[in-house]
Amino acid sequence: MLRLLWLVPALPFASSLVLALVRLPRRAVAWIATSSIAASTIISLLVAGSFLSTPPAAFAYTEALWRWFDAGSLHPEIALYLDPLSLIMMVVVAFVSFLIHLYSTEFMSGDDGYNRFFAYMNLFVASMLTLVLADNLLLLYLGWEGVGLCSYLLIGFWYRDSDNGRAGRKAFIVTRVGDTALMIGLFLLFHRLGTLNIQELMRRASEQWPIGSSAALAAALLLLGGAIGKSAQLPLQTWLPDAMAGPTPVSALIHAATMVTAGVYLIARTHVLYALAPQAQFAVAVIGAATLLMAGFSALTQHDLKRVLAYSTISQIGYMFLALGVGAWPAAIFHFMTHAFFKALLFLGAGIVIKSLNDEHDIFRMGGLRKHLPVAFWTFLIAGCSLAGLPLITAGAFSKDWILWGAYGAANGSTGLWVAALTGVLLTSLYTFRMIFLVFFGEQHSQVTYRPGNAMLIPCLVLAFLSIVGGYMKAPFASFLGTSLPWNSKVGAIPIGETASGGIAAAVFFLGVYLAYVLFLRKPNLTMAVASSRAGRVLHSLWSSDWAMDWLYDRLFVRPLVWLANSGKSDLIDGFYSGVAWLNKTAWRGASRTQSGRLRWYAAGIAAGSIVLIAVVLFL
């Protein structure tokens, strides 16, 4: 059964090719696109089942398909590598993508670019599955770039509005900064260790590089650069909120299954390297903690429903980075899984709300939708509770408590990181319930014009189920993943236990809910008063503009570059070429003036020309 593994990325890829090349009726498009992902999901489940029932040697299975190319000492293979880590990623990615595809068949039903949309979506999933299953870093990089390309295509899907195109370009260019770092990292690793096969690379790295060596540090930091770009972490997070320009299912796909978790996966995949470079690993933790706080504050002030969710994703990925950084590896992957469920659900629910309110994005113009969209409300509420971490019931609480505990009790944990993560819990429940109260409670401001059908509701229900049940898988999950990603425990005594940490987090969660209830439902005037005070205004504008990072980058990079390009337009070399162009243009203008269309002038020209010719013949 394991031999079928290659079909998992191949099927979506094949179907995306078919959709891109053949013009099919809408029904057929929806069927092909969804069933290819469904088949891919089923195969990945079968593979997982056979992997669990008869584990291969050393809990890893490699399927070499063919040699990609030979160049000197570089012979990368197209090979797939399956171990508990990639298995979990594969199953979650395929399954969540399937649900999102099913949802999209209805969500996009009125759109002109139906073909194009599903071709891109399938390619997106295929790239992500390639990335996850890649046996060597080069193949991983192929998937990595494929994911970047598809995100560009899908964010700018409604390209007729130039803002969407700009958002797509921004996503592509900002992640490119990280991709470049990743590429240099690959060069460095190949140069020093002579291979790009991940397992071989990890083995050689731990043999040849002592802990704390500068080569390991450089390589780990460069890979981290790539991960930061893709996963929208500080300081490259600015592309993600703008990526909301794409259709809502795309946002769900980017945030839950594909793209943004690629960075988390990359770091988890190369965790040996980070163990060799403790400073780099500490940097991962600090970046994660800083990002989760900053994005949490930003989410508090957004008006656009999807932007709230975007900042929430940045913040949650920050949690995963924090877990990776402190050495709580399995907690990061577990949070990836639960996050995939509830964040996909949140986006799908947001899609229902936005579509049924006739493309209304502003949460202050929603309200009171509880009774009109009951299924959307309940599933959204479950997902929101999971995101904010309603203890004991929801999946998000289990994964987040695990990370919190890791921030304290894992190898690199510290009180500071734990406090940051705890503050993040407060922010998360505050912005989540602000969103829920404003959208579903209170007075109704907009009319419901569309009722979601089954294709949109079923994925929500399935994901809602998983957002709750997912948490109970923690124990088997930990023991399964432990074979490839061990938990690094702290040496020495730990002052508070895991239960105590979880209990404090639960208290903070309820505090956040209560605060949100008071601030946004009971006494909105109080909130307005706070927000319109002087300090409140400054903070509000700072947070709602993502800590003015866009402004800063505009001043630091965009404008100098534009200025440079503009001043380069009139230098000597360009002057020469534009001189040639000017000469041609002038000559053309003169010549075209002689084409006056006046018969007698032409005749005069002929006569004058003849006279000149005869004169030349006669007198010269």
């Binding site: 002689t594 006046r598 018969l599 007698r600 005749a603 006569a607």
Partner: protein, 102 residues
């Protein structure tokens, strides 16, 4: 019969040709332009005949006959075009035909 000196014939031809050219360039009416072309052709014809008589060769006359034939063909086509043009535009002004300007 005294032979007309060739120079006189050529001068007559040149005068006719120049008059025709002047007419061609100065008249705006397409009909007169056609007439001017005829005059120019005849100027050339006179030159041929004068040269033929100077050397006692028949080629001059033969060429003049050719010119006559060419002129007849040109006039028939030209007049047909003029008729079509007048039918369409109700004018024969050459200045009105400037749609082909570049």
């Amino acid at each position: 019969m005294t032979a007309i000196p060739m120079a006189d014939g050529l001068i007559l031809g040149a005068i006719l040709f120049s008059l025709g050219l002047a007419g061609l360039l100065l008249r705006r009416n397409l009909l007169f332009i056609l007439v001017s072309i005829e005059i120019m052709l005849n100027g050339a014809g006179v030159a041929f005949v004068a040269a033929g008589s100077r050397w006692g060769q028949p080629d001059g006359e033969v060429l003049f006959l050719f010119i006559l034939a060419a002129a007849a063909a040109e006039v028939s086509v030209g007049l047909a075009l003029l008729l079509r043009y007048f039918h369409r535009r109700q004018t024969l002004d050459a200045e009105s035909m400037s749609e082909t300007r570049g």
